[in-house]
């Protein structure tokens, strides 16, 4: 009998952000990419009181977890990223590109928390539209592009639209 979810509320930024939250790998790590994005509400306004969390495999497709028997693991790779949105709704993480894992294209799982979200919403960042990926191929082709990060200056851009036009695909996990 699970404990119910509740919103993080407007003051999540006193409790949840960590100084090193956005850096899944330290600044200066060879091959590091910056993923940036903006969270928008249904009126197209940025959401300044959201928190993004990311979880991913390392570049070899391994997870830092006992339920992944494939190890070994990289040092200085936390696999988990966390960033509150700023006043303009922007977040960023610095990480390494995830590797493919058996049967799935490279991806990052994302949780979005915010004031006004009574339960997190979950999405995925992909880096290419790979029709062989079973999750991507389960999504309406017209909406699939909301899951594909767009190349940007020193990495990728992945905006999140909570509602309305071009609404991001969210998953029931």
């Amino acid at each position: 009998m699970s404990t119910p979810s509740q919103t993080v509320g407007p003051f999540l930024s006193i409790g949840l952000p960590w100084a090193d939250g956005p850096t899944v790998v330290p600044e200066g790590t060879p091959g590091a990419i910056r993923i940036v994005g903006t969270v928008f509400d249904g009126a197209g306004q940025p959401v300044p009181d959201a928190l993004i969390e990311t979880w991913q495999a390392d570049p070899d497709g391994h997870f830092d977890h006992p339920d992944d028997p494939s190890g070994p693991l990289r040092k200085e790779f936390r696999a988990f990223g966390r960033c509150p949105t700023d006043d303009d709704g922007n977040y960023w993480i610095l990480t390494l590109l995830p590797g493919a894992i058996p049967g799935q294209a490279p991806h990052i799982d994302v949780s979005v928390f915010a004031r006004g979200l009574l339960h997190r919403v979950v999405t995925r960042i992909y880096f290419a539209d790979d029709p062989s990926d079973p999750v991507l191929s389960s999504v309406d082709p017209g909406r699939r592009r909301t899951l594909i990060a767009q190349p940007a200056d020193d990495g990728y851009r992945f905006d999140i639209r909570l509602q309305g036009d071009n609404e991001t695909v969210f998953f029931d996990v």
């Binding site: 404990t3 119910p4 509740q6 009574l118 909570l162 991001t168 998953f171």
Partner: protein, 234 residues
């Protein structure tokens, strides 16, 4: 595989009584995501995340905060009744007067210079956690006419998988503000709602020092899968 929670356990994202959901709830139905390696694993965050006095919110400044000192303790469990050991628990809360130490909280109740309202700890081998803190006050908000949030402490827990991640709020028994609170009442099942209310715990009060409340947090359980064996073997 992690089991789905019973209908009515979690609030619908579209909860009109809580006005901020209006422009923030997705309109499209979520797409079913099969639980693969990314979902059954998750961050196992440890000691490196904790600083001194992170589990004692009354001892983070030179002086002591105002208010009723309380112990808040409980267990982090999965839906199979098993403890979740060595797992990060994060909390944040308002001070005794219901004011958050946050620039955007501007209601006319004073900030307490001796209270940040932020805590972290790790569960022990039996999944137990303990915080020492101050009983938070209720606070007004703009949701509806004369709206007040019941006193609560925000909790963030990870469990052992991406699937188990949970952010919730712990409430206090017999709060007269429950009836008018759309966030508390957004949980459809009254029995599930009751699981967010802590219990007064006489056995953990400290004479001449602190009252106590207990609050167990239950995360999604697993069904039998090949992964199950590994967990049992640990």
């Amino acid at each position: 595989m992690y089991l789905r929670d019973a209908p009515g356990t979690h609030p619908p994202l579209d909860s009109p009584g809580y006005k901020s959901t209006k422009l923030r709830h997705p309109l499209q139905r979520p797409v079913l995501l099969p639980q693969k390696l990314t979902e059954i694993t998750g961050p196992l965050l440890g000691e490196g995340r904790l600083g001194a006095n992170d589990n004692d919110l009354t001892a983070q400044h030179a002086g002591e905060p105002q208010g009723q000192r309380i112990i808040v303790h409980g267990r982090l469990l999965d839906g199979n009744g098993r403890p979740v050991p060595n797992s990060l628990v994060e909390i944040w809360q308002a001070n005794a007067g219901g004011r958050y130490n946050h620039v955007r909280d501007r209601w006319p109740s004073p900030v307490d210079p001796n209270f940040d309202g932020v805590g972290r700890t790790l569960t022990d081998a039996e999944g137990r956690y303990t915080f020492t803190t101050i009983k938070p006050g209720a606070y007004p908000w703009q949701n509806h006419d004369n709206a007040w949030r019941p006193a609560h402490i925000h909790f963030s827990v990870f469990g052992r998988s991406f699937t188990q991640r949970l952010v919730t709020q712990m409430y206090f028994p017999d709060d007269p503000l429950f009836d008018q609170d759309p966030i508390f009442n957004s949980v459809p099942d009254p029995k599930a709602r009751a699981r967010m209310i802590s219990s007064f715990d006489w056995s953990r009060t400290v004479p001449n020092w602190a009252l106590a409340y207990s609050f167990d947090i239950v995360l999604r359980g697993r069904d039998a899968t090949p992964f199950e064996q590994e967990v049992d073997d640990e």
